[in-house]
């Protein structure tokens, strides 16, 4: 499934090198989006292949969320083309995207605060049993599944009946991630999933991304953390003011170059200094060779 081990001889901005046999699941061709007179996104090309993690990076307000909202069906693009399985589409609701196996963790998480955790987990895709007039929720099964999925993420809740609004920000984020991972059949989109998470849960999320990729899913991973991106990414797209500034696969760009692109050249010096500090704290999480091949190496902190 390793897809980008080819020869990195192309220019800095180029199309993906996909596994030749499979085309992209999702593709944007010079797509754009305007909110009234605000042009949030313009001329963006993006391809999501199965078994690949595409990282989207960029400043605040660069248009990352806008980009994935087009793919997840929350907004429609106003220019360019959006293709799923090589057929042009225009989702009018997120339901249509979900039906195509595209699941999303939104930046604002998309949970209903007053509803219990397990109802939030299955909202919109409820499990049911029984014939039609008496078709009802399979509550037992849903609670059991939700509990299992959350435990797999290292989140243990005393009571799945508690309103999700009573959970901590990070716990809520974990529920949203576990839900998307559970329902994402072909494409998994994560909009800053590690923003509110602790070290342990961030590690779990990265493992999830890797595991989803290994299952053959295409993953779109939005983050502000180049380390996180570089640990799991196969392809990197950097947005700046609504346009694509960098579109490169892993072997064409180093962590430093990536950070450089995200920060903008002039800010590099200051950032390098910061980076050194970050490294000092987070050495474990940097992608050393052993970490990349030995799955248990990083899960040391995983058991509490």
């Amino acid at each position: 499934m390793a897809s980008t081990n080819g020869t990195g001889t192309h220019g800095a901005v180029l199309a993906d090198k996909a596994p030749e046999k499979e085309g992209p699941i999702v593709e944007l061709r010079s797509a754009g989006k305007s909110y009234g007179n605000i042009r949030a996104l313009h001329g963006v090309d993006l391809k999501v292949f199965p078994s690949q993690v595409t990282c989207v990076l960029g400043d605040n307000g660069a248009g990352k969320s806008t980009l994935i909202k087009i793919i997840s069906g929350l907004h429609q693009h106003t220019e360019g083309e959006f293709l799923v399985d090589d057929a042009p589409v225009r989702f009018s609701t997120p339901r249509e995207a979900l039906d195509k196996g595209i699941a999303t963790v939104y930046q604002d998480l998309a949970v209903v605060p007053l509803m219990p955790v397990w109802r939030n987990f299955f909202l919109g895709s409820e499990m049911t049993k029984g014939p039609w007039p008496l078709r009802r929720l399979d509550i037992e099964q849903m609670k059991k599944t939700a509990d299992e999925e959350l435990r797999n993420m290292g989140i243990i809740l005393d009571d799945l009946e508690q309103p999700i609004g009573t959970l901590s920000g990070g716990q809520r984020q974990c529920v949203a991630i576990a839900r998307a991972v559970y329902f994402g059949a072909r494409v998994l989109i994560l909009d800053e999933p590690t923003a509110a998470l602790g070290v342990k849960q961030s590690g779990v999320v990265l493992k999830y991304i890797a595991a989803a990729r290994d299952r053959g899913l295409g993953v779109i991973f939005i983050t502000h953390n180049p380390h996180h991106a570089y640990m799991v990414g196969d392809h990197f797209s950097v947005l700046r003011l609504g346009t694509m500034e960098l579109n490169a696969s892993r072997d064409e760009v180093s962590l430093e170059e990536l950070t450089n692109h995200m920060a903008g050249g002039t800010e590099l010096a200051a950032l390098k200094h910061e980076l050194a500090q970050v490294r000092g704290v987070d050495v474990e999480e940097l992608p050393e060779e052993e970490d990349l091949t030995a799955p248990v190496a990083t899960s040391g902190e995983g058991k509490s």
Partner: protein, 359 residues
């Protein structure tokens, strides 16, 4: 670091499952009584019991079985409408046209049957279609324009109020419709919508039965079906609900149509109990329905509530309305009672919501 092999997955196995059946352990179980009291429908149940006991003591005639049947009947005419209004409120919307829509439905059935001298069932079916269409219009306007339901249904309320009066005068030359009690099918329809049966020497109206049946169905739908889940979701956070694939448009429109169905049912009850319909009635009733739902623990802003709460809410209304009469007091006090109950219920609601979302 090496650049060539890094597309290899960081992890080749899915994350290991967490520890077994361990609990977080920081949550202590609150006493059952406390947990129950925190539920709004339990609060309103206790309120209803308190009101009942109060009138049992102060108004001796209430202790009579037939008075109780009368109180239940009064409650049921409010309660049948309070149910769909409550579901709509949980779904995050109001319907100010619910009161006059009842009369619109009754007028439609009455005039269609009488003017065309047809079987009353024709009128009943046409009235059902009209009522559902009014709900459809409300819901569709709301979804398409994104205006608050307060505005949309205020418009419908005014339109229906005017149409009720004008069309009735135009067709019958009177403010009320003609008596339809001698028309074909009247007895059948009356048996369904407005009959009376005897239980242990007490005459009970059939609407009491319908009320409780509808409440049971609504409770089941709300707590045990997908649709119920969607109602809570669109009321609690519409954007989130849409983002995870809940059919928000369908849910909202169907809720308005459900209110239309309720208006039709109550309208038919009024028509077949009184044989004629006064075209100017119904104004103000919509607030009574909304108040019964709020007293019943439905969150005015949507996202929380029950179907059983509004049953007790409606019972409190019926109890107070009749109890004042049985106690021999001035009925003018009714509205004052209502206001006090409403404010009390809202304060309890507020408290519950604060505790549910405390940080």
């Amino acid at each position: 670091m090496s650049m060539t092999q890094q597309a290899e997955p960081a992890v080749t196995t899915p994350p290991a499952p967490g520890p077994g059946k361990a609990k977080d352990g920081r949550t202590t179980e609150r006493p059952l009584a406390l947990r129950l009291l925190a539920r709004p429908e339990v609060g309103v149940f206790l309120g209803a019991v308190a009101v009942l006991v109060f009138f049992l003591i102060t108004a001796p005639p209430v202790r009579d079985g037939s008075s109780m049947a009368n109180i239940l009947y009064q409650s049921s005419t409010i309660g049948i409408m309070a149910l769909p209004v409550a579901l709509l409120m949980i779904g995050g919307e109001f319907d100010l046209s619910a009161g006059v829509a009842v009369i619109t439905s009754a007028l439609t059935a009455s005039m269609i049957s009488y003017q065309l001298t047809m079987n009353v069932w024709v009128g009943v079916i046409v009235a059902l279609i009209v009522s559902l269409a009014v709900g459809l219009f409300n819901g569709w306007m709301l979804v398409k324009t994104g205006l608050p339901s307060f505005l949309v249904t205020l418009g419908t309320f005014l339109i229906l109020q005017g149409v009720n009066l004008a069309v009735t005068k135009l067709i019958t030359g009177n403010v009320a419709t003609d008596d339809i009690s001698d028309m074909d099918g009247f007895d059948q329809a009356k048996a369904l919508f407005a009959s009376t049966f005897e239980v242990g020497g007490v005459n009970v109206k059939i609407t009491v039965v319908w009320w409780l049946v509808f409440a049971a169905i609504a409770t089941w739908v709300l707590l045990r079906t997908k649709y119920g889940n969607w109602i809570f979701a669109v009321g609690g956070n519409q954007q989130s609900a849409r983002a995870v694939g809940v059919p928000v448009t369908f849910t909202k429109i169907s809720l308005f149509m459900l209110v239309g169905f309720g208006a039709w049912f109550v309208g038919m009850h009024q028509l077949f109990s009184f044989n004629t319909v006064q075209s100017g009635e119904g104004v103000g009733q919509e607030l009574i329905y909304i108040a019964a739902a709020v007293i019943g623990g439905c969150l005015l802003t949507g996202g929380a509530g029950s179907a059983i709460g509004p049953v007790f809410g409606a019972f409190m209304f019926g109890m107070v309305q009749q109890g004042i009469v049985y106690a021999g007091w001035n009925p003018d006090w009714f509205k004052a009672f209502l206001g006090v109950m409403l404010l009390g219920a809202v304060l309890i609601n507020l408290y519950v919501q604060r505790t549910a979302t405390r940080r």
